[in-house]
Amino acid sequence: MTNTNQQQSDGRERVLSLRGISKNFGAVSALTDIDLDVHTGEVVALVGDNGAGKSTLVKILAGVHQPSSGSITFRGNPVTLDDPSAALRLGIATVFQDLALCENLDVVANIFLGKELSPFRLDEVSMEVKAWTLLNELSARIPSVREPVASLSGGQRQTVAIARSLLLEPKLILLDEPTAALGVAQTAEVLDLIERVRDRGLGVIMISHNMEDVRAVADRIVVLRLGRNNGVFDPDASNQELVSAITGASNNSVSRRASRRQAQNVQAQAPQGQAPEARR
């Protein structure tokens, strides 16, 4: 387990810093004293069991909820995120789990929804050109930007949602379960996209339950448990370590499987002539 949370990551700019963030819903404490740092060009995976507070934390950063206590520093300045538009103005974009796309509209309309280029008349040509440019920069596989979103695959929809979030050139992107309910090929497509977003120098916070996906793209893994920080890990941390931090149990199926595997390795390395009892 590393403690990269507090330090500058390879001299890169710290884009977001949370200190002592707590959130109460009446008597229920959803988050308690959360600390988190995100740097430019870095993917931070936020993992934890159901009810760990991941979505609440993302909603605080998206401006949907306001923290009960604690401070948010964005690009070196203390900020308050009163509503989603305040977060967007600052440069924090969110791709929610349900993607929030209008399936009846085409790709261009969805990308520019609420951010149209002219105040009254739709500037279709400029919007289409800009949409293509943005999607090409992300190497997105979209058949046509005039295709209704309803006819796109899950991966393509996720691509449209991410492209839309990049339109206002944010500094930080929050992705809530970006690979949930996607097939293998579509998941790979989205993970590639996340890497390309990181390569553009953006900070990325990604919520996921899928450890394979987390390991594939994350630079750091932040574990939340029961609304509290429960460790910061490198992506090459063992499954046992991660599951222990997520569940709070050192004795679980993953740790038992790891122990069995270790025992098998010892057994395999034992000299052939030795008695079975000794090998056991």
């Binding site: 967007l88 349900d98 509209l105 309309a109 929804l113 009254f120």
Partner: protein, 322 residues
């Protein structure tokens, strides 16, 4: 049947079914195809057509307005009460402005009830229908409202022709083109489609959902007001019980034209075709002396057919996407 075929059938099937009796009328009834009758048909279609344009916008938004018939009656009554005050040409303009303002207020009230008070469109507009209809009956004492002078001039203008084309029909076409441009070429139109398609997504994208809804309902009521003015101009008087069952015909036209009652889908061109088909069928039934009571039943049947096509098509599309 392939997916593409089923999509075309879903989109145009209802038109083909309704075109069949019209084609038969064209062949079998020489009166039907006379220019005079077709001219009359266009004029008849204009009243409901203008109301249906507003209704289409509301349906695309994901709502429905059942108060349009009552609002049409309100429009005529307010206008002709203003005409009764006298004042020549000024009274004519004042009457029209007062009528459309009253309609816009009713529409905004519909929008407020739906957005701020979170009442479902069906219940909100049904309540407003009753209030407006009651108000009109109270003000008029249930009697016909007519006025000399400006009323006749107004009636003459709307029932007249320009280059052999009916003014009412030209107004219908003009408003249809304007509405189509608003829906397809403006940000406001885009927002109507977006809110109808996914209101939550539209809200998260920062769209002014409340304002768009209120404005759309106000536009719908103003369109109903224009329809009411055309209706009253036919007899140079305003009937307090005018416009009954107009909401049914307007909704039917929109649904025939491809509008989805769930919202997010529809077109003004489709609605115009829909209203022309309904009017033509009604006209044909008139030519064969079929009772008007039957005509209402036929409209209801057409609505069921159109909704059936739409629902079936959506189910097909979903199964293909899945």
């Amino acid at each position: 049947m392939t997916h593409r075929m089923s999509t075309y059938w879903q989109r145009w099937g209802i038109f083909l079914i309704l075109l069949l009796p019209i084609a038969l009328l064209m062949i079998l009834n020489p009166v039907f195809r006379q220019p005079g009758n077709l001219f009359n048909l266009w004029q008849q279609a204009s009243i409901i057509g203008i109301i249906a344009i507003g209704q289409t916008m509301v349906i695309i938004l994901g709502g429905v307005d059942l108060s349009v018939g009552a609002v049409a009656a309100l429009s005529g009554v307010v206008c002709y009460l203003m005409f009764g005050l006298g004042g020549g040409g000024l009274a004519m303009v004042g009457g029209v402005v007062a009528a459309l303002t009253a309609c816009a207020i009713v529409g905004a009230l519909n929008g407020l009830l739906i957005t701020v008070f979170n009442i479902t469109p069906l219940i909100a507009t049904l309540g407003v229908l009753s209030i407006v209809r009651g108000l009109v009956l109270i003000v008029t004492n249930g009697e016909l409202v007519y006025a000399e002078g400006p009323a006749y001039a107004f009636s003459e203008f709307l029932q007249d022709s320009t280059l052999w084309l009916p003014n009412a029909g030209l107004l219908f076409v003009g408003l249809a083109v304007a509405a189509a441009l608003v829906l397809r070429r403006t940000i406001f139109g885009q927002y109507i489609f977006a809110i109808g398609g996914n209101e939550k997504a539209a809200s998260l994208a920062g769209l002014p959902v409340l304002q768009v809804k209120i404005l759309t309902y106000a536009i719908c009521s103003m369109m109903a007001g224009v329809g009411g003015l055309l209706l009253s101009s036919r007899t140079a008087s305003a009937l307090p019980n005018a416009g009954i069952s107009y909401e049914l015909q307007a909704i039917t036209a929109a649904v025939i034209g491809g509008a989805a009652l769930g919202g997010g889908k529809g077109s003004i061109f489709g609605t115009v075709l829909g209203i022309l088909l309904i009017t033509a069928i009604g006209n044909g039934l008139n030519l064969y002396n079929v009772s008007p009571f039957w005509q209402t039943g036929v409209t209801g049947l057409i609505l069921l057919l159109a909704v059936g096509f739409s629902t079936w098509g959506n189910r097909e599309a979903r199964s293909v996407i899945r």
